[in-house]
């Protein structure tokens, strides 16, 4: 079963965009992965890795004759709506180049960086927005569990794949399935996995699952281990040294990890210094590569590291 957050996104758009988007048939909307807005260009929707222009009659075309042009006014209105007219509340996210909105959708922002003291203070003159549409695909993790076994899933699993390869969707379904049997903590720094609103996850992430929403991953890992005694930690997009340090500490706390990382192959992921450290320490015993584009969400490769070592 697929439950897309597309409908929740419509509230953020002015009529000029909302009306054509609301005319899209459901067969299209459940397959949409992104909506892309660029000033002076047409509104695009991404499906299976390909960009289509959205036409006024609610159809998608690869080469449009007449699309919906994004004006500066439309861009400004969409940006302010995405921030709930409360820039101060999402300033920390804007500094990192995104805003998380209802239903776990993430709006990536492109514009002019305003620097202060050598770091980004904010982004002005937003020129492009990439809205990634979160979707709940119940059961999408079952092929993975069938292939590598539940034991491998809970014994240190790294999901790798290119951006928009379905890593977060897979993590969400793994949380739902494994959270039925184990105490799971999700470290949801960008509110994408569980999409918590007023303390309630908007997606089914499992009956024994606790969500650390909005925590920086390093702090969330420490807090989760300290206060929730989880058996399994799930987090998205590992990368920096702090996160790796905290995860290494969990190795001695008896907690297993499922995480994701951007990479176009398992070998490429292992070349990233922090991932390599975690692999060498035995945090991850299995790595899985997900396909992208038309193969989004499918398992392209699996590597077991204990076997490799032996």
């Amino acid at each position: 079963m697929v439950r897309s957050s597309f409908a929740k996104l419509l509230a953020y758009f002015p009529d000029a965009l909302r009306l054509p988007l609301s005319r899209l048939p459901e067969t299209d909307t459940v397959r949409l992965m992104e909506l892309r807005l660029r000033i002076g260009r047409n509104l695009h929707a991404v499906r299976q890795g390909l960009e289509f222009a959205v036409l006024r009659d609610g159809t998608l075309r690869r080469e449009p004759a007449e699309g919906i042009r994004i004006t500066p006014q439309i861009m400004d209105a969409v940006f302010k709506n995405l921030c709930s007219h409360s820039l101060h509340s999402v300033q920390h996210q804007i500094r990192q180049g995104f805003v998380t909105v209802a239903g776990g959708c993430r709006a990536g922002l492109c514009g002019t960086a305003v620097m202060q003291g050598g770091s980004i203070e904010t982004i002005r003159g937003i020129s492009g927005i990439n809205l990634r549409i979160a979707s709940e695909r119940t059961g999408c993790a079952l092929p993975l569990i069938d292939r590598i076994g539940k034991r491998a899933c809970t014994g240190g699993l790294l999901l790798t794949g290119q951006p928009a390869s379905g890593k977060t969707t897979l993590l969400r379904d793994l949380a739902r399935i494994l959270g039925a049997e184990l105490r799971v903590c999700i470290l949801d720094e960008r509110s994408e996995i569980a999409a918590v609103q007023n303390g309630i996850p908007q997606f089914d992430v499992g009956v024994q699952t606790d969500v650390f929403d909005g925590y920086p991953k390093a702090d969330g890992i420490a807090a989760a281990v300290r206060v929730m005694s989880p058996q399994l930690l799930i987090c998205d997009e590992l990368g920096d040294a702090d996160e790796a340090d905290r995860l290494l500490q969990t190795l001695h706390a008896g907690v297993q990890i499922i995480a994701s990382a951007h990479a176009s192959s398992i070998a490429e992921a292992m070349q990233r210094p922090q991932i390599a450290r975690l692999m060498a320490a035995g945090i991850f015993r299995t790595a899985v590569l997900l396909g992208s584009g038309t193969e989004c969400g499918s398992i392209c490769a699996v590597q077991h590291f204990q076997e490799a070592a032996s």
Partner: protein
């Protein structure tokens, strides 16, 4: 009969004078309440970084601000911020032109920029309100007494004319 009419005229004239004085006092109270509101907004913004619709709901639920009609209306339609703020102000007869302009600036400022930017602008709005309050207090002290005296004296004058 004549005496009763004269007495009624005296009371009516005195009442008009007292009412005018009370209006001046009410304006002082209103401006004080608006300054209190601005302080509460700044405190909330600084402490909790709330979404503006949530902030409006919180403030409107506070009994201290029950008399601010525009705030209740804006909160009732908070999802439509900032349009709801401007609409609510347009529908509220309480603020005079100067106060209305300040409140419009508050609505345009909330959520539109960084926290420090908002706090700076709200501080300026508060200073402008403070000036208006100062003038209103002076006016209430000076003209209030005058209006009451004028009311009573004009009543007496009318009574003398009638009798």
């Amino acid at each position: 009969m004549k005496l009763t009419g004269a007495l009624l005229l005296l009371l009516a004239a005195a009442g008009i004078g007292c009412r005018a004085a009370a209006d001046l006092r009410n304006r002082v109270q209103y401006l004080r309440l608006l300054r209190q509101l601005l302080t509460a907004i700044c405190t909330e913004l600084r402490g909790n970084l709330p979404l503006i619709p949530d902030l409006l709901h919180t403030l409107a639920a506070n009994p201290a601000y029950r008399s601010l009609h525009f705030l209740r209306c804006a909160a009732a339609d908070a999802a439509q911020f900032p349009d709801c703020w401007q609409r609510a102000l347009a529908d509220d007869p309480a603020p005079d032109a100067d106060t209305r302009r300040i409140l419009e600036t508050v609505g345009q400022t909330l959520g539109s920029t960084t926290l420090s930017g908002q706090l700076d602008t709200l501080h300026l709005c508060d200073e402008r309100l403070q000036h208006l309050l100062h003038d209103a207090e002076q006016s209430a002290a000076q003209k209030g007494q005058l209006y009451r005296s004028l009311g009573i004296l004009s009543g007496i004058f009318l009574v003398i004319l009638i009798i």
